[in-house]
Structure formats: C-alpha cells, structure tokens
Amino acid sequence: MTFEEIKKILEDNLKGKIKELINPFPRRMTLWVDKADALETCKVLKEKAGFYHLSTITGRDTGDKLEALYHFAQNGMSLTLRLQTDKSNPTLSTTIAVYPGAIFYEREVHDLVGINFEGHPDMRPLVLPEDWPQGVYPLRKDWHYNREKGAIE
C-alpha cells in the first residue's frame, strides 16, 4: 500500500486520535498517538492497514519523557508508531495480545529503558543480569558507564 492509502485507512479508523502522521522518507512513515489509544491503534494497524510484521521496539529517553517506538512492516512500507509516557510513572499497555512477537522486545525495553508494560505476563530481566540494581536503566541519558580502573594502568 502507498502512504496515501494507509493514511486514509488510519484517518478513517482513528478519528481525532492521530497526533502526527508523516512520511519523512520513501517507504517510511511515522504515526504518533496517545498512549491510551495504543492497543486500538495496533489492532487497526494489523487488521485494517496490513502491518503483519512487528520488527522491533525501540525505547528512548527524550530528556523529560520516555518513548517507545514500535517498528511495523509490510510489503513496501515501514511504519514507526510513537508512544510517550511520563518519566515519573513510565507505563504502557502491552501489545502482545495483538502482536505475540512483541514478548521479548517489551522485556528488552523494560530492562534497558525502564518502561513497565502493564499486562505483560513475564517481566523478568531478559538481557541484564539478575544482580543488576533495581531502578537503574542503562539506556537512560542520566546513566553513564564508568570503566573500573585496572590493576595495571
């Protein structure tokens, strides 16, 4: 489908919920909705707009907010869904009911950026060790890696 066709489907099905819908590069589009509309948007993307594949989820620290970017794909188009949440209470609802393939991606984002996915059945750490301190998220901007000094230096 072309950008115009997908845009029409999304505008028909998500009336008044689209904050931003752009086409920055050929075969790339970005959709921004409120986090409360996330599940409904995912359903529309999968069932109406033909985005059958979830490539991955990127977690990002924007400074004052946390952002989750869902990268969806279909033949000829890659769509990025942008959701934002407050840093004080970083929660999003899980999308594994619509995209079961999201199960590991959501765990990874939880590990590294610290967004809680409400309704996710298994929020154990996936990539960080078990003894990693609670509440420390390495991909946030306030976390810096300090290499320990070696014995010989």
Binding site: R28, R60, H71, P100, G101, L112, L126
Partner: protein, 395 residues
Amino acid sequence: MSTFILPVGPQHPALKEPTSFRFMVDGETVVDADLRLGYNHRGIEKGCEERTYIQDLYLLERVCGICSNVHMTVFAQGVEKLMGIEPPKRGLFIRCLMGELERVHSHLLWLGVAGHEVGFDTFFMYTWRDREIVEDILEMISGNRVNYGMQTFGGVRRDLDEMQIKKALDGIAALKARTPYYLNIGASEPTLVARIAGVGVLPKAKALELNAAGPTTRASGVDFDVRKDDPYAGFGEHIPFNIVTDEGGDVLARVVVRAKELMESYNICEYILKNLPAGDIRVKAPRKVPEGEVVSRAEAQRGECIHYIRSNGTDKPDRVKVRAPTLANWPATLYMLRGGYVADIPIVMAAIDPCLSCTDRMAIITDPKGNEKVWNWETLRQYGIDFYRKRGIKL
C-alpha cells in the same frame, strides 16, 4: 508422569554466543521451553551514543562476526539518508555484492553445521571446503575473511579491478557447479530426510503471528524478504533476483530454502560482476549529521536486520537501536521445540542459524531430587545421533 526441568546453557546451546534455556520435559518430549539472554550483552547501543558516527560504523560491524557486513550496511545507509547523500551506482553494486558473498559464506557454513548436528560430518566437510572459495573471494576484495570494513558513509571503501572480477567469477562458477549436489543431498538423501522431515514444524500462520524473519519464515511459506519489500542499495530497480519460499515449515524446508538461496545469491553475484557500472565508488560525507530520525533495514542471511538511528545535529548519534534477526526468531523457535523430542533440540535450534557463541559446555539435570546428570553439548549431540540410530536412521 511428572515433568522435569532440563537446563541447557548458558554455554553453547547451539552455535555461537551463550544463551540459557530451560526445557520442561516429559520423558522424551519437550513440553515447554523458556529462554534467558544477555550473557553476551556488551552495551553496544550505549557505546554508540558516546562515539562519533564513523567510530560507530566499526563498532556496529562487531555486533556479529558472521553478519558483520550487514550491520555496517544498515547503519551506513541509514546515516546516508539523514545526511541526504546518495552513493554512486558502482558503490551500491559493490555494497550488494558484499552482502551476497556474505550470505553465501554464511549459508554454506550453516549447511555444514546442520550436517554436523545430525551426525552427518561428511556433509560438513564438503560444504566447509567449498566455503573456502567464497572466503578467498572476500579476502581478495576486502583483505579480510571476516569483518571486511567495506562500507562507509557515501559508498564503499574498496574498488574491484578486472583481474579481481575474473577471479571472483571463476570462484562463483565453481560454487554454482557444486551447490546442486548439496541441494540434492539435503532434499532427497533418505537418512538425512528421515532426521529432518517433520521436525521443528512452524506453520505459516504461526510464522506470521510470531513475527519470524529470514529463511525461517520463508521455509514456512511467507515471502518476507527485505530485499524485495524494502529494496535497498542496488536491489529492486537494478539487480534482478527471485525469493525462495517453501511450504514445508520443517527443518527440511529450511535446508532446501537455504540451498536454493545459495543459487540465487550466485546469480546475483554474477549479475553484479558482469554489469558493474563505471564511475566512483563513494561520495564525500559530512562529519556532522543533521537532526532527524530514520529506520534502516536490510536482509541479513538470518533474516531482517533493522537499525533505528536518531541524530541531534552533532557528530555523535542520540540513539542507535540494533535488532539482529536471531531475536526475532526466538519466539518461533520456542514454539517449534514444544512437542518435539529432546534428541531434536540441537537441529531445531541450529535450524534458525542462531547467533550464539560456542564454548562446548552444557548441563542436564534429569532428576529434580538431586540425582544429577551433567552432559556437555557434545554428549547431547551424540545422544541425538544414537537415539535415531536405534530407530534405524544411520548417517
């Protein structure tokens, strides 16, 4: 009968890099599977934020040894989009050529490993001998057998001359003559087929639902290939190729898909080498990147590789996200293992070509009351071979 928990890993579940599995087994049958990653988490994404773009290019090449070139390609073409530069056609063709040569060496490596896991070491010796041909071509072009360092912002770093093109064509011709033999063995040799047919089945609906990628999903009949869906470098408009799919959905189908993809890759390489456009191989790239964000994708040998890059106007990126194809295939692998035999674990895990590193150590606890039995990977592999030997499948 009660179920036992069978821990596999973290050292060496299948090929390279450590990962840890917990299999719930009921006698010979795997009832459920669980996964723990991160033993090789090196913080490359955070590292990228602290380095300049050109440093990141070489850091990202080291995400993986087998698909080093594809990570470099994805990052380079993403940053090129942000910079607003377009590499010359000759550069794009050489970029494609490197990607396809890398696919050839990886698929030949995988065919050998698959043979080894089921106890068919002759197959392993044959394919790895032929893999040397493509390694020699890669070394001749880039100077290296792995981590070629060929891609850069605005094109590629090394050109090909007439002598190199001729040698590469000779090598491809030799591989093209041999590969049909492997396809024939993989698809019709009765003992091998008895080990891999109907093992690790992934139906098409599940492949779509669990967002699998690469040959794993194509062997389940889904024609998902980034080279066609989202053409990059020279693919699509300039370089013709076909997508290989198979309806089988089992390990046999994955062997067939990879062997047929080898033939497609040879055709692509030949086409590129014979139709290499004249001109420059790269354009000059700026040091600072304008503010913006981009999603860049490419088809690695194991499936879709995707990078998300966000720039903030300086010479360092604000965020780089890397998703290599193996992570996309784990949910599907756990599905495939359920209901299968313990003896099939090695080949089912190897069938997605996981990017894990080998240390040859693994523990199995067969009795939760403390009656422990510790096996290493070699023992499990041998157990699988003996299991089928007793049932008359002798490779």
